[in-house]
Amino acid sequence: MLKKIFVLFLLTVTGVALWQSFRHAPFGENRVGDVENPETVSAFYLKHSPETLHTANSVTAIVVNFRGFDTLGEVTVLFLAATGLASILYRRKEDEEEEGGHLPVRVKLKSSTLVRTGAKILFPLILLLGIYVFVHGHLTPGGGFQGGAIIATGFLLMFITYKRFNVNHKIMVWLESLSGLAFVLIGLYGLVAYGSFLQNIPWTGRLNDLISGGLIPLIYIFIGIKVATELTNVLDTLMNTKPRKK
C-alpha cells in the first residue's frame, strides 16, 4: 500500500514534469514555418516531397528517402527481433522431455466452423488489402510497415483458426532475406551511381501516379514483403511454443 502511494507520488511528479515541458510546444501551433523557404526539416520535406521526389505521401517520402536510413535500421530491428525470438524460443529435445514429451501445437481447441469459413474468404481479401497498402504507400496513408502488418494479421487469422495451417519456412526465409537484401542493394545503387547511400534516382515521375517517386515505392514494396514475412515468422514462433500431448 505504502509502495503504491509512493509510486503514485512518483507518477505525479513525472506527469507534472512532462506536462510542464510539453506546454512549451503548444498543441496545434504551427512550428513548421514557411514551406517555400524552409527553416525546419518539416518544411523542407513538405516542399521537396512533392517538388523533387514527386511523392504524394510526404510521410512516406521521409520514411523511405529523407530518413530512409532510419527505416533500414527499423527493418533490421524487426529482423533482429524475429531472430532473437527464435533464439529464445527454439525447442530442444530436452525441452520436450521436460514437458513430458509434448509436441508443439498452435491452437489447442478447434475454432468455430463459421469463423473458419469466414477466415477462408477473408484471407485473400486481407492479403490484397495489405499489398494494396504497401503498393500505394507513396500515394495514400500507409506503406510497407502497415501493409506488412496487415498481411501478417491475415496469417494470424489463419493461424488461430486452423491447427494445421502452416507457412512454408523455406519460402519465408528466401523472401525475408532477399527483400532485406534488395533494400540494401537499392541503397548501394544510390551510393555507387549518385554518391550517397539510398539516394533516389533522378526520374521520379508525376505526382500521384502509381509509378512515381523514383525508387520509393519499390523500396516500400520490399519493406512490405520483409515486414510481412518477419511478423508472420514472429507470430508463428510465438504460437508454436505451446505443448501438446503426443
Binding site: 507518477l11 518539416s42 504524394a56 532510419d70 525470438l85 500515394l139 506503406g143 514472429v234 511454443t241
Partner: protein, 130 residues
C-alpha cells in the same frame, strides 16, 4: 462548414489537455503497471501502454490546427502550407515498429520464464541478485 475544426481552434486548451493529457496519462498508467503489477505479462502490457502514450505524444506534437494530413493526394497538390508536420508521423512509425519488436521479444522471454519457473510472478524472479 467545418465546425468540427472550429471546435479545434476555439477549445485549443481543451484539446491540449485532451491530447497531451491523455498521452501523458497513458505513459503514467503504463509506468504504474510496470512498477506495481506482479504478473509478467501485465508488466509487458504496461510497457506497451507507455509506448502508446509516447507515440500519441509524438503525433500530438506534430499536429497543427486546421491543417491536414501531409499527403499530396489529388486536390491537395498545392496544400503544402496547410499540412501538419510529417516528421513526427514518420518517427512514430519507426517507434511503433520498434516497440512491437521489443514487445514480441519480451513476450518470448516471459514464455521461457514461465516454462522454467512455472510462475509468471515477477517477485519470484530473483535467482540473480547481489
Amino acid at each position: 462548414m467545418n465546425s468540427f475544426q472550429e471546435v479545434f481552434i476555439r477549445y485549443r486548451e481543451l484539446m491540449e489537455i485532451a491530447v497531451y493529457g491523455v498521452a501523458i496519462l497513458l505513459i503514467l498508467i503504463g509506468l504504474y503497471a510496470v512498477l506495481t503489477k506482479k504478473h509478467l505479462v501485465k508488466v509487458v502490457i504496461g510497457l506497451s501502454i507507455m509506448d502508446a502514450g509516447v507515440n500519441l505524444l509524438f503525433v500530438g506534437v506534430g499536429y497543427i490546427t486546421n491543417h491536414t494530413a501531409p499527403i499530396f493526394s489529388p486536390g491537395y497538390e498545392d496544400a503544402a502550407d496547410k499540412m501538419v508536420d510529417p516528421v513526427p508521423q514518420a518517427l512514430v512509425l519507426t517507434a511503433i515498429v520498434i516497440g512491437f519488436a521489443v514487445t514480441a521479444l519480451a513476450l518470448s522471454l516471459v514464455i521461457r520464464l514461465y516454462r522454467h519457473h512455472k510462475t509468471a510472478n515477477i517477485e519470484q524472479l530473483n535467482s540473480l541478485r547481489w
